[in-house]
């Protein structure tokens, strides 16, 4: 059961709500029926599951504030139903509705909406007062929540003695003190200046990791939406244009509006190493011989290869001169010629913004490794740069998790299968399996015909 479920919700402001709903359903445009009433929310359906941060994003006038106010019944929907924990609140009477607001839903407001004649402590205790908690206990619990949001010791001040950011912390403490499952945040950080806003976002994320509230967060700031949202609903002219994760919205916008909207997003905060990393064929097993490596240099037209062991642990890199030297020395394996200097590794969750510095100094592409130092993919410098630029094919192909194509497997020898089994907890099986495919390549007969490599390359493509 989802925490909040909206099904085909409409909200029309005007004299004849039902008529407007009927006409728009029949195909009329929103502007055609404007003299009958303003359709603020049109046929919105979504579900928010327990513990999720669901962000509703849109420009002003897109209906997002109206939508959030229907969730706690401040406005009754003109059509459709809103369910809170399975109960339809649009069918409730005022008394019942007040009970739901006290016990299940609390709200944080854009302009804080604190009561200026009450102290900070009394403001934080406000939700508890309404729940009927005894005065003394309410004050004590309010103090605890003020501590949690970083306002310990400010309880006796008045709201206007606090800065905007601190006032909003009081608003947050008031909402959290109610200890409701659902938290509605209406442009909660929009009135704050950027630094404070960032701080509050971080704090919310931190609090959420322990509190696991169901949060519906309204914002017009796409960066904020991308940063906070487990899922994002983009609203436009009263309709929900798209619902998806931030990467969905960024990389697979459903229409031009969403695409234009996300054009300006600060990708460096949203995208992570795992979303822009590329699979690579420039990888060689440490047990491979120098001639295998040289053939790979030729085929990949690169001057360096990552060296991995049989379970894809990154050992280092080998460059073309080292391979030539190894061949001249008559070495049978490359392991003695592996260099570990100058190889920079990053984790898959490293944000793009932290990739610029290492990427600009490294001679070879950045290696993305998991916690066990297993190679997940690589990030050439050009990928970092191009990821910034557009919603285009390069970002579109990024997510790497796809079913393992069948044509990889015939190339895997028994050892690779073993490796695959060892890799079972690997978070990205698609990559790992494909990697296993590449690992095996050098073991192919050296003068292998191009046809045998074909499917492998196809696999790369599919994986990207």
């Amino acid at each position: 059961m989802s925490a909040v479920r909206a099904s085909h919700v409409w909200k029309v402001f005007g004299r004849n709500e039902k008529e407007v709903v009927k006409r728009i359903k029949a195909g009329a445009d929103r502007s055609e029926v404007a003299d009958l009433g303003t359709a603020a929310v049109i046929d919105a359906s979504f579900e928010v599951s327990r513990g999720e941060i669901f962000v509703v994003m849109g420009l002003s006038g897109s209906g997002k504030s109206t939508l959030i106010r229907m969730i706690n019944g401040l406005w009754a929907p003109s059509d459709g139903t809103i369910e809170i924990a399975g109960k339809d609140i649009s069918a409730m009477g005022p008394t019942q509705l007040r009970q739901v607001r006290r016990d299940s839903i609390s709200m944080v407001f854009q302009h804080f909406a604190l009561l200026p004649h009450r102290t900070v402590r009394e403001n934080a205790a406000y939700s508890l007062d309404l729940q009927g908690v005894p005065r003394k206990e309410a004050r004590e619990r309010a103090d605890e929540w003020l501590n949690t949001v970083g306002l310990g010791g400010w309880g006796d001040k008045y709201p206007n003695q606090l800065s905007g950011g601190m006032q909003q912390r009081v608003g947050l403490a008031r909402a959290l003190a109610a200890e409701t499952d659902i938290l509605l945040m209406d442009e909660a950080f929009s009135a704050l200046d950027p630094l404070i806003r960032r701080e509050m976002q971080d704090q919310l994320v931190e609090l959420q990791s322990t509190l696991e509230k169901t949060i519906v967060f309204i914002t017009h700031d796409l960066n904020e939406a991308m940063y906070l949202g487990d899922r994002i609903a983009v609203m436009r002219d009263g309709r929900i244009a798209q619902i998806g994760t931030s990467e969905d919205i960024l990389t697979r916008p459903t229409d031009d509006y969403v695409a234009n909207f996300v054009q300006d997003v600060d990708r460096t905060r949203v995208l992570t190493a795992s979303s822009i990393m590329q699979d690579t064929t420039a990888v060689v097993r440490h047990s491979a011989g120098p001639r295998t490596a040289m053939r790979l240099f030729e085929r990949e037209r690169v001057s360096g290869l990552f060296v991995i062991d049989s379970t894809r642990h990154l050992l280092g890199a080998v460059d073309d001169r080292a391979a030539v030297r190894a061949a001249r020395d008559g070495a049978t394996v490359l392991s003695d010629y592996v260099e570990t200097d100058g190889i920079l590794t990053v984790g898959p969750d490293t944000p793009l913004s932290e990739l610029f510095a290492p990427s600009s100094t490294a001679r070879v592409p950045l290696a993305v490794v998991d916690g066990d130092n297993r190679l997940l993919g690589v990030i050439p410098r050009i990928a970092v740069l191009s990821s910034m630029s557009q919603v285009g094919p390069s970002t579109g192909e990024m997510p790497a998790v796809t079913p393992l194509p069948a044509n990889v497997e015939p190339q895997d020898d028994a050892e690779a299968f073993t490796a695959q089994d060892d890799d079972a907890p690997e978070p990205k099986p698609g990559i790992a399996a494909a990697g296993a495919g590449h690992v095996d390549e050098p073991d192919e007969p050296l003068p292998g015909d191009p046809a045998s490599e074909g499917p492998t390359d196809d696999t790369m493509g599919a994986d990207r």
Binding site: V100, R101, S106, F109, A113, N160, R174
Partner: protein, 312 residues
């Protein structure tokens, strides 16, 4: 033919007998609702008497022969009362107003207007209490309902714009001579700013505060008493201040209706062309006015919201 010509003439030289209608309305009202008028008279009269006896109890003691007219005790009681008034001013406002009160009320005593001033104060307080009992709920209703607001607006305009003397005549007809017609006229004249400023005060409470209270599940009564009224209190106090000042401005008219007090002195001075008495009573009115204004203004700045504002 003749009838048509007559009605045309009527149109050209109209005379609407509104005065006759008003006359017969008042008579009819007095006949049908006599019990209501009696009840109002009794209420006003007894409340006024009670207040006056409290405010002017040294005089009562003198009249009962308990203390002598020029005894030290009487003066001491009066001085004690002056200090009580000053103390109220200090609590409500500050020491400057308290000092003014001591000097001003001593001047009233020195001008031999003490009993008259207390009578006027009692009349003003009774009228203001009744006016506020009517005005505050009406203001709240007008703030909550656009319909009530729309209906009230022209009525309030009428009450304020009608010359106050015009109320006095029907008031005397209905309540006969004495304190009550003066109080009645004062109530009607002084009430409108109380209603208007209460409505305005509640309407100007920021919508988001009310919305926040609603969002946390507050009942309408809680929103009114715990959110809207506290936040509106400063403006409401400004309205109460206006009501008091308008009520005080009516005391001379009330004197015409035979209410006595400072108004009675002034009216008497006019009829006898006695400049001296007129000036003395007039000055006492001014001192009372300044006192009541400063005290209520001081109370207005003592609301929780104003206190919170000053805290920063």
């Amino acid at each position: 033919m003749n009838a048509v010509a007559l009605s045309l003439l009527d149109f050209l030289y109209p005379r609407i007998p509104l005065g006759d209608w008003a006359d017969s309305f008042i008579t009819w009202f007095g006949n049908v609702f006599g019990w209501l008028l009696d009840a109002f008279t009794w209420l006003m009269q007894s409340t006024y008497q009670l207040l006056f006896q409290i405010l002017a109890f040294p005089k009562i003691l003198v009249d009962n022969g308990a203390i002598a007219d020029s005894s030290v005790l009487r003066a001491l009681i009066i001085f004690a009362m002056i200090l009580v008034f000053a103390g109220i001013a200090w609590i409500a406002s500050n020491w400057k107003v308290a000092l003014f009160t001591v000097l001003g009320f001593y001047a009233i005593w020195a001008l031999a207007q003490w009993e008259n001033a207390m009578s006027t104060l009692a009349l003003v307080l009774v009228a203001v209490i009744v006016a506020l009992i009517l005005a505050l709920p009406l203001g709240v209703l007008a703030a909550k309902s656009q319909i009530v607001s729309t209906i009230l607006k022209p009525i309030l305009d009428f009450m304020q714009a009608m010359p106050a003397l015009a109320y006095l005549v029907p008031a005397i007809v209905m309540f006969s001579v004495g304190v009550v017609p003066g109080a009645f006229a004062t109530i009607i004249f002084a009430m409108p700013p109380g209603v208007r400023l209460t409505e305005l005060a509640i309407r100007q409470v920021a919508e988001d505060k009310v919305e926040a209270a609603q969002a946390f599940g507050a009942t309408p009564a809680h929103i009114l008493f715990k959110v809207q009224l506290p936040l509106a209190m400063a403006t409401i106090m400004a309205g109460i201040n206006q009501v008091i000042m308008l009520a005080l401005s009516m005391v001379v008219l009330a004197g015409m209706a035979g209410s006595g007090g400072l108004g009675g002195e002034v009216v008497g001075a006019i009829s006898r062309l006695n400049v001296g008495i007129g000036v003395e009573a007039g000055l006492a009115v001014v001192i009372l006015a300044v006192y009541l204004d400063r005290v209520t203004a001081g109370l207005g700045s003592k609301t929780p919201l104003e206190r919170a504002k000053r805290a920063s």
